[in-house]
């Protein structure tokens, strides 16, 4: 397990160092915009919580806030080591930034999972929660865990879409689906550059769909 973690971390470091600076700058722009949008959605959820006192909305708000924090952490780290210093930094530092980014993002997805779980889950919570532990037992790499969590969230939002049939649920489902695609492209990309670019594009599309939902839902 330790050897696998080291191999995948080295692979992540190698990928970062192969990517040209110009693409990293574009990536930083995408990530910054995505971070800002996540903050906006978090604020919207926070306002909703203040009015309704529904705890799931608080979880949702915290989730988007944590997601935003992970994005800005990565922007700051990448900006400093790859753009300002222009030397890529030491492998150890890049590894730490990468792991922090993945870990914080995973925490955000866990909050989304809790916030968007179906109400019937009260009666079936133990087996469902055990499923989330499965990837941690099989493979502790954060990317795999995040992807697995996103699969569950996407399915939950699909169920919600099927029952509510509203355009707002559609935007949320498509948003999480885009985030899932961004993670899958990161995991399965055969070419690091293309995979990296697709990851960032789909992540931005995902959060923009959330923003579109907030905008459309706010038009009364």
């Amino acid at each position: 397990m330790k050897l696998y973690c080291e191999r995948s971390s080295t692979k992540r470091v190698d990928r970062m160092q192969d990517i040209p600076i110009s693409l990293i700058r574009l990536d930083l722009l995408f990530e910054s915009v995505a971070g800002l949008i996540s903050l906006l959605v978090s604020r919207r959820a926070s306002i909703a919580y203040r009015i309704t006192h529904e705890y799931r909305l608080s979880d949702l708000s915290t989730g988007f806030l944590v997601l935003s924090a992970s994005m800005f952490c990565r922007v700051i780290g990448t900006l400093y080591f790859f753009v300002i210093l222009n030397n890529g930094g030491s492998e150890r530092v890049i590894l730490i930034v990468s792991i922090m980014y993945s870990a914080i993002k995973t925490m955000a997805y866990l909050l989304f999972l809790v916030a968007t779980r179906p109400y019937l889950m009260h009666r079936a919570s133990a087996p469902a929660i055990a499923l989330v532990a499965l990837p941690i037992l099989l493979d502790p790499v954060f990317d795999i865990i995040s992807t697995f969590i996103l699969v569950i969230i996407t399915l939950q939002t699909l169920l919600n879409l099927a029952s509510s049939r509203s355009e707002y649920s559609l935007y949320v489902f498509l948003g999480f689906l885009s985030l899932l695609i961004s993670h899958l492209s990161q995991l399965f990309a055969t070419m690091p550059l293309r995979g990296y670019f697709i990851t960032q594009v789909f992540q931005l599309i995902g959060v923009m769909l959330f923003l579109l939902m907030v905008y459309r839902a706010g038009r009364v």
Partner: protein, 97 residues
């Protein structure tokens, strides 16, 4: 697969009452219409009407015949608009309010 909560929250009851008053389109509505519009018992109705009056979401208007009707204030209208946005946002994520 999604199931609605088994009970109405207090917020939902207040919103139903405000909507019953709003549907009267400015003419005001008496307690009986709110009672049926919001599906409440009389005791609960008077308790919540006092709360809505206290929060400034509705006001009382006396008719020429001496009867009392309730109308939405600007704050009440704004609250309903905001609640619609909140409801749409929450339901998009499968969260019931």
């Amino acid at each position: 697969m999604r199931s609605k909560k088994a009970y109405r929250s207090k917020l939902r009851i207040l919103v139903d009452m405000l909507r019953a008053i709003q549907n009267a389109e400015g003419e005001g509505v008496g307690p009986t219409k709110i009672l049926y519009g919001a599906n409440l018992s009389y005791d609960r109705l008077m308790q919540y009407i006092d709360e809505l009056l206290e929060k400034g979401l509705i006001s009382v208007k006396k008719n020429k015949d001496g009867s009392q009707v309730y109308i939405l204030t600007d704050k009440g209208r704004e609250f309903l608009r905001e609640f619609i946005k909140v409801e749409r946002f929450s339901r998009a994520f499968g969260i019931e309010v």
